[in-house]
Amino acid sequence: MKNLAFLVFLIFSIANAQNKQILYDFAGLPQTLLINPGAEVSNKFYFGFPLFSQVAVQGGFTGFSAYDIFADDGININTKISDAIKGFGKSEFTELNQQLEVLSGGFLLNEKMYLSFGYYQETTILAKIPRDVIALLYEGNSDINRQYSIEKLSARAELLGVFHVGISKKINEKWQIGARAKLYSSALNVNSKQSTGSLATTFGSNNIYKQQLENIDFLLQTSGVFFEDTDVLTPAYYVKKMFLGGNLGLGIDLGFTHHFKKQWTVSGSAIDLGFIYNTQDVKSYGLKGDFEVDGFDLNFDDQDPSDYWNDLEDRFNEELVLDTITSKYISTRPLKLNAAVNYAFGKKLDNCRFDKRPGLYSNKVGVQLFSNVGAVHTYLAATLFFERWFSKNFQAKITYTADPYSFKNLGMGIATQLGPVNLYVLADNLLNLNNLYAAKSVNIQVGLNFIFYDKY
């Protein structure tokens, strides 16, 4: 049971709508190109330490934290569960996102163009849970006349590998633009969106109560989930699927950086504008219709006895049609939008401390916005940040983010460069470091690169 509880904690506290607010435009790290292909990168070439150039885990649950339930405070756990359910919004969502950069590299093609490429593996689980569904499970359906709606019930899960190559091009001193082409290889996809319908128990006329399923329209699309023979599901199977053996798709990232005034910069990007064509191991389920029952109407006719149960079952299957669909389908990737404006100030970086990156200011302050659209919910986050280059070897960034999980999310990132060795560590929700279990979300990224700069 303890393990189960810890698992619940992990699900609720690991992984945050893929907002990488600390990494965005930080310290000229090569990985910033994965969030904005139009970011400015000043190295001559780089390669990431295989499997460790970016390890990112983000996640959370907007409803309540593990501490809300498991705090050792003498209060009965059932009281705490009840309080947590009472505090449940109209709908809450949970998310787990994990990225592992397997290979990455990049180099300056010429004075104006930088080419970067690589392969990463990504897992995403998103679920939006309406309050009514929780109420139905936690309290039952004895609240007469209440409509238990499934309208906001949606979920998404993906396991895929991504091959990518991108170009960041300097147009002039003010503009930098970039694009990244992506080839997705999906091992697993689960998609359920736009559910409608409700369940209700109301006072009836023929019987005390009648029960209704109204306007039910539910579609669950899956690929790589249901198998006749589950013995095939080995780690090797998933690795093969993620290396071009799975359902394939295409995508593109777009981005720009614009210095609209001497010390002012605006940037933006659209990430994962793409789709996957699910053709292998597809099994989808659709449920549609209305159904109403007020009980078994006994007629006491021994000459013509009724088969009440089977008649009801037949009517249920006729009126609420469950389709099993094996046709191919297209799933879009959750689109991530980033925008930022910053003001650079402080000492201009001199040739003594910053001989490899001239023309920069030592401080940056600004605002970033992030949105994740087309997922099971629309996620918005706003971040205030301060970034400081202490030297060419050490940079730090502090962020303050308001998002659906929290209005007081303090994050921090540090990047160091010793010779060609570049190491970065980024984490948020630092205000919860004194009580990790109270955090509704966690976001951690670490990476090791080898970055080589031109001598000036």
Binding site: M1, I77, N78, L298, L430
Partner: protein, 184 residues
């Protein structure tokens, strides 16, 4: 610059070293329970005088109907109580009894609802609640046939039901399942 660096590292150190967790006890999960009540609508009938007379106009003292059901036992272990509620209304000048008897797949009688539902003559809305005791809940899940016996009780003055009688016996019901999911 060094001052700012020290401040940042200082903040980070304070955040990191003020203790990483407050007391938490995952073993509490063993005491967790979720209590939910589910209502399911059940059988109903409306019987007129013709239901109690044969083709010759002779009273039929006992009527019977059966629901053959396959009940899933998957949630049986979580059920703490089952409560049937019956609402009756009778405009006949005759009293009735309704008895519900359960039979298994071999058509062996395995349970009788107690008490018998008694419906006096000319009675308005009467609610009868029958609770299935916890020790008998397993019987419900072994049931294949739910038999409803409606007994027309003899009149006290010797009168009989006539086909022209427009009286009706109304019977409505629902069941409430009291579930308690325990993690331990």
């Amino acid at each position: 610059m060094m001052k700012a660096l020290k401040i940042i590292l200082g903040i980070f150190a304070i955040l990191c070293f003020q203790g990483c967790t407050k007391p938490i006890d995952f073993d509490q999960i063993d005491a967790a329970e979720i209590k939910a009540n589910y209502i399911l609508t059940q059988a109903y009938f409306n019987l007129g005088s013709s239901n109690f007379l044969d083709e010759f106009g002779i009273e039929i003292p006992l009527q019977n109907d059966v629901i053959q059901a396959q009940i899933s036992g998957s949630s049986q272990k979580h059920i703490e109580k089952i409560e049937f509620t019956f609402v009756t209304q009778n405009s006949f000048d005759r009293a009735f009894n309704v008895q519900i008897v359960l039979f298994d797949a071999a058509q062996e009688q395995i349970y009788t609802f107690k008490p018998t539902i008694q419906i006096p003559a000319y009675s308005g809305e009467i609610t009868t609640t029958i609770e299935i005791p916890k020790e008998d809940i397993a019987v419900i899940f072994n049931t294949e046939y739910f038999s409803f016996f409606v007994q027309l009780l003899p009149s006290t003055d010797g009168s009989v039901i006539s086909l022209n009688d427009d009286a009706t016996l109304h019977f409505k019901s629902y069941v409430e399942l009291f579930l308690n999911y325990k993690t331990a």
